[in-house]
């Protein structure tokens, strides 16, 4: 399952200097237990076949690699393909990971499931698998995000999950994650924490990446069939960074494949209101891992800003920090305004409403199309669909006649 990136992390959960386990002693045993079970089950044939079956019939995999013909014609640049993670059940890549983690939870005998969510896509994907497996589900969500992603809150409740509003700090993903960790520290014996991105203490960044690696494995197979070669470049948005690592991991060793991660520049990188730790942060510790982070001179975490709730996070997965330092992945940024423009253009040109998160990857490509030759094949990870974002784009005035 780990694919080609099996070498990382090392035994201590480090990606080079990044990663580790900066958590209270109380949850160390649970992380050990989780790692042990994961290593055991990823080799287990029954586990693998059950996962494979669910991904096919419940999630709807493989997802298509789709030629975005009108966007390509419009940009008059390289050939653009979408890896259609928006077509997964629940509308985003997040469910690849929650299906895997719920099978682990089941085998570990844990019946109470908790999760954090920003955009609500991970919360929704967790609520969905909890309904499917009859487990009780508690989702921590910032009140700010509950407002801007209301449709997802309603769906989670319909599925039987309890959505707990988090009011501390910026009332967004950062605070929801802290609150989920506090719950886990308290109820660690009975509870499985389904973490939604390649962040947090080891072994989460490894487990989430491995469950998401299916995106890249399919992309490779589909590219070889369509182009006879891997794509020339792959572009994905980066909040915590799970869809990006999911599609990158299988191509890290193919040096000729350019890999580009796109962070949220919010109101602009110089505005101080962004969510771009790789561009503007420094290594630090938040939520259990050492990784790039935006914080002030006193070490206090700066409240991030992005119009996209899923990218509105001050940190990033530790493996991305290493990939930035090594230069294997190029990281760029896109502002709220640029993302909104791409959101609208792609909706109209392709008949696909992309998530605002995904729109950052699309906007980067539209802005930098000249970096690519005309016949080059570019894959954008279309990580999720955008109907959840209607309240945001409406309040941005996009829907006015």
């Amino acid at each position: 399952m780990a694919g080609e990136s099996k070498r990382m992390p090392d035994k201590k959960g480090r990606f080079g200097p990044y990663g580790g386990r900066y958590v209270p002693e109380t949850v160390i045993y649970a992380l050990d237990e989780l790692e042990r079970c994961y290593r055991q089950f990823k080799k287990d044939r029954r586990f693998r076949s059950e996962l494979k079956g669910l991904l096919a019939d419940f999630v709807g995999r493989p997802t298509p690699l789709y030629y975005a013909e009108r966007l390509t014609a419009f940009l008059k640049g390289p050939e653009i393909y979408f890896k259609r993670e928006d077509l997964n059940h629940t509308g985003a890549h997040k469910i690849n990971n929650t299906v895997g983690q719920i099978l682990l939870a089941q085998r570990m005998g844990k019946k109470r499931i908790i999760a954090e969510t920003g955009a609500g896509q991970h919360g929704l994907a967790t609520a969905t698998v909890c309904a499917r497996f009859g487990m009780s589900c508690i989702v921590y969500m910032g009140t700010e995000d509950m407002k801007r992603q209301k449709p997802n809150v309603e769906k989670m409740r319909l599925l039987g999950a309890k959505v707990v509003p988090v009011t501390s700090g910026s009332a967004t993903l950062k605070d929801a994650t802290s609150e989920a960790l506090r719950d886990w520290v308290t109820n660690v014996r009975s509870t499985f924490y389904v973490l939604g991105s390649v962040v947090g203490p080891h072994p989460y960044p490894m487990i989430v990446r491995d469950f998401q690696t299916i995106i890249g494995r399919e992309t490779r197979r589909q590219s070889l069939r369509l182009f006879k070669t891997p794509p020339d470049a792959i572009i994905a948005c980066v909040g915590g960074g799970s869809n990006a690592l999911g599609i990158f991991a299988d191509f890290l060793k193919d040096d000729q494949v350019k890999l580009i991660g796109v962070e949220a520049a919010g109101y602009g990188l110089t505005s101080g209101q962004h969510a771009a730790p790789l561009a503007k942060g420094k290594p630090g510790v938040l939520h259990g891992a050492f990784s790039y982070l935006i914080y002030d001179d006193d070490g206090q975490v700066i409240l991030p800003h992005s119009i996209s709730a899923g990218l509105d996070y001050p940190g990033v997965g530790p493996e991305h920090s290493l990939l930035k330092d090594s230069g294997r992945v190029t990281y760029g940024t896109v502002t709220d305004a640029e993302a909104l423009r791409a959101f609208e253009q792609v909706s109209r040109l392709e008949g696909i409403i992309p998530a605002l998160e995904t729109s950052h990857a699309l906007a980067w490509l539209m802005k930098h199309k000249r970096k690519f030759k005309k016949n080059e094949k570019i894959v954008v990870c279309l990580s999720g669909r955008g109907d959840k974002d209607m309240p945001i784009v409406a309040s941005a005035g996009m829907l006015d006649e």
């Binding site: 209270p24 002693e25 160390i28 802290s178 070490g299 975490v301």
Partner: protein, 262 residues
């Protein structure tokens, strides 16, 4: 190893240790120092000074609140070190700094530990730095004569308890229940068994904390533990008080009750 802590432990006889916690900068910088002095007057054996952090993962609502207020009052690690040197003018009990990793990373671990030792601090407790990640921190702290106190939890197995004991200087901090600070849960048989088990396994003394909110709970814990840490309860008393004078008298009164009881 800190001489002040070693001397205090050597002189304590059969007395149980009373260890209050205050967040530096809450309710204000000056008032937080007044509270520490009042606590020492009531017989505190050591004082924990909280270094506020924006995202205190191991803390419940009370300490989250005090941290937020302290940060609004522009409390930084520099102000914490100033608090230590100010207190050192009049106070001789050990002062233990308690806070999270990131502000220390931002300050620079090496510089911070050197400055903390110079200011007159005696030790550090960092809840998001488990022993597995503490190698360089520990060796730098050792070189400055600062004690490192690590936390054991009800979920730590025997092997880990021994490891934590080995890396802690002078004493160990036992988290009473799985949870964050100020849980307010009742301590039952399970806690007794755990504390008894610790007494048998640990070579060093230990204090128990997280959720100690009454004389009754302090007594129950000190049947096995060598002392108790009280934090969230004190922050709650300060929050309820209508004036700073009332805050000091409520905190002093509560600590007096505990001092008598244990």
């Amino acid at each position: 190893m800190s001489k002040r802590i070693a001397d205090m432990l050597a002189d304590r006889g059969t007395r149980k240790l009373l260890v209050p916690f205050f967040t530096v900068g809450y309710p204000t910088f000056k008032r937080s120092l007044d509270l520490v002095r009042a606590a020492v007057d009531e017989g505190a054996d050591m004082v924990e000074l909280g270094m506020p952090f924006s995202d205190p993962m191991a803390d419940g609502p009370q300490i989250q609140f005090s941290s937020q207020v302290a940060l609004k009052n522009d409390t930084t690690l520099k102000s914490v070190l100033k608090a230590v040197s100010d207190l050192r003018q009049t106070i001789n009990v050990p002062l233990i700094l308690m806070g999270y990793v990131n502000p220390i990373v931002a300050y620079s671990e090496k510089r911070f530990l050197a400055d903390a030792a110079n200011a007159g601090a005696d030790g550090l407790i960092i809840p998001d730095l488990p022993v597995d990640e503490a190698k360089s921190f520990k060796s730098v702290a050792d070189s400055h004569g600062l004690s490192t106190i690590f936390l054991v939890s009800p979920t730590s197995n025997k092997e880990r308890v021994e490891q934590i004991d080995g890396l802690s200087t002078d004493f160990v901090y036992a988290v009473t229940v799985t949870g964050v600070t100020g849980s307010g849960r009742k301590f039952g048989r399970e806690t007794d068994d755990y504390l008894k088990r610790l007494k048998q396994t640990l070579r060093q003394p230990y204090v128990a904390g997280f959720g100690v909110s009454s004389a009754e709970s302090a007594c129950r814990l000190t049947r096995y533990a060598d002392g108790v840490v009280i934090g969230s309860k004190l922050i709650g008393l300060i929050r309820e008080a209508k004036s700073s004078r009332e805050a000091v008298s409520r905190v002093a009164g509560f600590l007096r009750t505990i001092r008598r009881a244990i």
